[in-house]
């Protein structure tokens, strides 16, 4: 992932910033320029809740190169308290013991590094609560 792209996504990744449609109230993460429900182009910035629950998950055992050192690792789709869903790793746990419905909280973590000597890329991961 080239650095400018990463930098542009920082508000969403670091501060969990989402866009709430002023037309219909639907919340988009990441923020969008137009609402796919009501076509409004007016949004307000909102912060996502940190708590949610696992609605489905898997354990990745064959990973792309930049995640190879971490296998096996758990990835889940988490539904946050306001209904927004995200894809995130679930860490600091035994992946084999995860279950659908587990409560999790998003935390700020290193996600990957850009190449061998590149910048460290941060973002959110989930931990069990």
């Amino acid at each position: 992932m080239p650095s400018p792209r990463y930098r542009r996504e920082m508000p969403q990744r670091y501060r969990l910033e989402a866009g709430k449609c002023k037309g219909c109230g639907k919340i988009f993460f990441p923020p969008r320029l137009i609402c796919n429900k009501c076509s409004s182009q007016n949004f307000e910035k909102v912060t996502l809740p940190e708590n949610g629950k696992i609605i489905t998950f898997t354990i990745i055992r064959v990973a792309p190169q930049q995640f190879e050192a971490e296998v096996p690792y758990a990835i889940a789709i988490v539904e946050l308290e306001n209904g927004v869903r995200i894809t995130t790793q679930v860490v600091d746990c035994d992946p084999e013991k995860l279950e659908i419905g587990n409560s999790v909280k998003l935390v700020f973590r290193k996600v990957q590094a850009e190449g061998k000597t590149g910048i460290i890329l941060y973002g959110y991961k989930a931990v069990l609560v």
Partner: protein, 382 residues
């Protein structure tokens, strides 16, 4: 719109084809299709390839293939929609002839996946790069998320997933072009190495090289050829949220459902009229979900429907008679047209040992990514 017919087919063997290059795979399939059709020219061509740039560093594929097929200066363009690139290329060719713009069109696809690229990464670019791939998801991972949700919501079992692989490998064992033309057992599938829980390596389609092409023509040209008249009676395409997590129902493949509804409507047929179907079984769970979205069974019943044998060669709707992506192989850009070739062979009575009796109407469904794009075509023996 004018009627459009498939008048010729050609494909390479699928597999790890070390001795053939990207361009040679396509040209081999193209030359076979042109010879099979018996035409002496093309008006235009559409080439499906998912990510030749990442696999082998080659873009500008339309021009490359027209050149090496000896067809320049005809118009030629690449069509990309991840794993349904060539299904969409076929649709472009269909529309080109239906509109009256062209009379003879080549639609094909090709992928060269075994030339040293990071295949897991290259395929993952069909997902949301910033909000799925960034977190470490893979394609088997995305389908594993769907599988676990489907098992949780509908009681689909690990064994039912495996039954898709067992059936498709049985069919593929009779297909000389298949990458893995051999039987597998339920135990082998369920006990194979896990790739992304609950999916094993034998729930997954392989990494493949291959090319597939068909020649499409207007009715006037097709009629002169004195062979079975196979008409494209329906074509439908659709899209959905790119990221799996944004879809209201993780177990639903809405683009598949909508693309099929559009094709059924154009064709004036219903799911029960379909005699055989080739569907996008990139992973076993995908076939189960697609059976539901195509209307072959109720939502949530795809696993049970498979377990009851309804999709086997002798069942009420044989699915993936070719062996599917699972056994035949999945050179992503070539898959959509290779599916069409199987449907045409079944309609023409040329499917050999895996021939189904009395096939009049066949369907081919091809999808991209975790289902964010899908294209469905329906063919009829006239």
């Amino acid at each position: 719109m004018r009627d459009v017919y498939v008048i010729g087919c050609g494909m390479t063997k699928f597999g790890e084809i070390w001795e053939s290059s990207f361009r040679d795979l396509f040209v081999e399939a193209g030359l076979k299709a042109i010879k099979d059709a018996g035409v002496d020219h093309l008006d235009s061509m559409y080439v499906g390839t998912m990510t030749s740039g990442l696999f082998i560093g080659q873009e500008h594929v339309g021009a490359l293939m027209a050149d090496y097929l000896g067809m320049a200066p005809i118009p030629a363009v690449r069509v990309e929609s991840a794993c349904c690139s060539s299904g969409m290329a076929l649709r472009m060719g269909f529309l080109d002839i239906a509109s009256g713009n062209s009379d003879v069109v080549l639609a094909g696809g090709v992928e060269k996946m075994n030339d040293g690229a990071d295949v897991t990464y290259a395929l993952s670019t069909a997902a949301d790069q910033e909000y799925e791939v960034y977190q470490g998801i893979t394609f088997p991972g995305l389908y594993a998320l769907i599988a676990r949700a489907h098992m949780n919501k509908y009681g689909t079992t690990r064994k039912q997933l495996a039954q898709v692989a067992v059936k498709n490998h049985h069919n593929g064992s009779m297909n000389p072009n298949a990458q893995f033309p051999r039987e597998v057992t339920l135990e082998q599938v369920m006990n194979a190495t896990l790739v992304a829980d609950p999916l094993t390596i034998l729930d997954s389609s392989p990494v493949s090289d291959g090319g597939a092409c068909v020649i499409l023509a207007s009715e006037e040209i097709a009629k002169k050829l004195q062979k079975p008249m196979i008409k494209i009676i329906g074509s439908g395409a659709a899209t959905d949220f790119l990221a799996l997590h944004q879809r209201e129902d993780i177990t639903a493949l809405k683009a598949v459902k909508v693309s099929a509804e559009r094709a059924y409507k154009m064709a004036g047929v219903k799911p029960s009229d379909i005699d055989i179907a080739e569907v996008h079984d990139c992973f076993t769970i995908a076939e189960i979900c697609i059976l539901e979205e195509l209307g072959f069974c109720e939502k949530g019943q795809g696993g049970k429907f498979t377990e009851q044998g309804h999709t086997s060669l002798e069942g009420k709707i044989p699915v993936n008679t070719s062996g599917g992506l699972k056994s035949k192989g999945h050179p992503v850009g070539a898959t959509g047209v290779a599916q069409v070739i199987e449907v045409v062979e079944q309609l023409s009575g040329k499917a050999g040992q895996r021939q189904v009796k009395n096939v009049k109407i066949g369907l081919a469904q091809n999808m991209g990514g975790s289902g964010a794009s899908s294209v469905t075509h329906i063919f009829s023996l006239m």
